[in-house]
């Protein structure tokens, strides 16, 4: 079981890096088209997933397979439509961009353009939730460096949690993060870390008795 688990940990960590980091390098280049490209890519991924899941269900008995077949069949068809639609939109968008604004369209990086295109990209999504919009804006505008930093911290946190367990990770991560990412004083970090460690220990170990991630050494 533990071997299987460790295999597990490495693979999602990797996909996390790929999945989350890839917006960053794309983002600065062409904001309006990244959305469409991402739609095609994500659509294709889901198309493949539904296709695979549909085939997988072929071996099962009727009772076990009926609902999966309906779901994956429908999913496959809709994903197919979505891919076609966003490909068309991508092509149409390119054509329109070429026709409408010949000054900015040549693919070469023209300096003043990004300043305009950023609020545009945010504006097109503004119809949704007010709260969601905020998140969306942060995700869209955070640069590659911030993304890398944030993902590195998160990956570090979960690796540490897996290896060392909760009661080591809680204070240690707090100190490191607040000191180096939050730029707080050592004293502040120490107080925060001790408090959070003590509260967690008191709550989970002493009061509730709920198991927490033990780490590899206490298992």
């Amino acid at each position: 079981m533990s071997a299987a688990e460790s295999r597990h940990t490495t693979s999602p960590a990797r996909t996390e890096e790929i999945g989350m980091a890839d917006p960053a390098p794309q983002a600065p280049s062409r904001r309006s088209s990244t959305g469409a490209v991402a739609d095609v890519v994500l659509g294709l991924l889901l198309l493949a997933l539904f296709g695979w899941a549909f085939l997988e269900a072929a071996d099962w008995s009727f009772k076990a397979a009926i609902f999966p077949r309906i779901v994956t069949g429908l999913g496959f068809s809709v994903a197919f439509l979505q891919v076609v639609q966003s490909l068309l939109r991508l092509a149409g968008g390119r054509r329109a961009a070429g026709a409408r604004t010949p000054v900015t369209s040549p693919a070469g990086p023209i300096e003043p353009v990004p300043a305009e295109s950023v609020p545009q990209a945010a504006g097109t999504t503004a119809e949704d939730d007010a709260n969601e919009d905020d998140v969306e804006y942060v995700f869209q505008t955070a640069g590659a460096r911030r993304w890398t930093e944030a993902i590195a911290w998160v990956t570090g946190f979960f690796v540490l949690l897996y290896v060392a367990g909760l009661f080591v990770t809680a204070p240690l991560f707090s100190v490191l993060y607040l000191r180096f990412a939050g730029k707080r004083s050592w004293t502040f970090c120490a107080i925060y870390a001790v408090t959070i460690g003590a509260v967690l220990y008191a709550a989970f170990e002493l009061a509730l008795g709920i198991p927490v991630p033990p780490g590899l050494f206490l298992d």
Partner: protein, 507 residues
Amino acid sequence: MLSEAISGLTQVFQPLPLALMLLGVAIGFLVGILPGLGGAVTLALMLPFTFDMQPVEAFAFLLGMWVVTSTTGDITSVLFGVPGEATSAATVLDGHPMTKRGEGGRALGAVLFSSALGAVFGALVLALAIPVIRPVVLAFAPPEFFALTMLGLTFVVALSGKHLLKGFIMAAFGLLIALVGLDPQEGTQRYTFEQLYLWDGIGIVPLVVGLFGGAEVLQLMLSKRSIASADGGATPEASLSGVGQGIRDVLRHWPLVIRSSAIGTGVGIVPGLGGSVAQFMAYGAAQQSSKTPEMFGKGAVEGVIASGAVNNAKDSGSLIPTIGFGIPGGAGSAVLLSAFLIVGLNPGEEMLTTSLDVTFSMIWVTVLANFIAVAAAFFVLKPLTRLTFISGPLLVPFLLLLLALGAYTASNSFADVLVMIVAAIVGVVCIRYDWPRVPFLLAVVLGSLAERYLFLSYSLFGWDWLTRPIVLGIGAVMLLAIVGPVVRRARARSRAEKRPEQSGVSA
């Protein structure tokens, strides 16, 4: 029914449920004030702690927390122009101008008091709805319930706006995720990759925690600023007098309170519409009926009253389909529905017959929690508003730990944490590239129910169930829900194409 109502009340007034409710109210209070942390996220994070609780205790805790967030979210809307919750956005329109005018206290008094009244109205409707929906629920057989689950999904998809296809894909994706595990009829392993952990299916708790909480934490890490930046130049010490006048304003405009509450409850009942829509519908209605509509957006107390009342009424409204049919109206009630399943309550018939007292206890909690929160808000307003200036990085370690713990405690396995991480990636990708998350979540929650109903329908009626009148009727509504927005958009587009100069970029 009366005896169950009283029994529900006495169950809430036991020491433990009461204490848990107060704890929930306190947490919801803070969360409501902190912009960026939403009610659904917090519900998700707190869900794991309810595993060992009795139903009444669990819902005293969760509901107490949830209903309060929409009340206190208004506080920052009024004082800083930063909505503490997405559903408090309409409060900003008039509440913040009032603060700038030096009438912050009056605005707060009005919004908090009308919130409390809205909650009472919503709860009353919820209680009165029970005798009405009980015969409906009892008359429904599996085919109708299956159709209803599909209807709930369709509504949520249709309201994901212009991304209809994306919404359907996400719903199908969610159903696929719900399929993982042993199938309920024959124990066939479906998509388990020979991992023992996956036999039980993918846990809803780690999934919800990651899907909503993960993105929230990452946002804090990326933006690195305090959650509310007071760009309007407002200080926490903005004039807080005049609360009494605000309360009198509410009493003077009581028809407005009732109408806004009715809109909130009505919109809340329809799955998928949700608070963001309800608040602006009530706001618009208030403006239309006002004697001074030109004052709206410049600090009209009526605007504040309407947005306060509608918020809290819609929570109770959305509980009606959740309790009666197991169809949550939005993200928050979807998480609540998973709480039903965790504590072993079956929505539908059971909640309206044998567990009716639990249902009533929930109604009481929504009322009590709101009153406690409003009363507390009046006392501790000043120190609480300073909370918004906590810097984001300070919360990050704490929230990351909550994410990890929330996921891990689901089944005490690190695999839960991995599920949470993957769900977080899905959530982040969804936000970044504008794919809707809520249809996905709802589909995961409803997936196993839907399959059970489908299978029961098939084994009871063959395929004949598809022609049952109510099923056909629900099917027609579904069709309308899908076709309606498409037609409307096509019409809007053709109108826009007639005047291409004005709206060039809309493609």
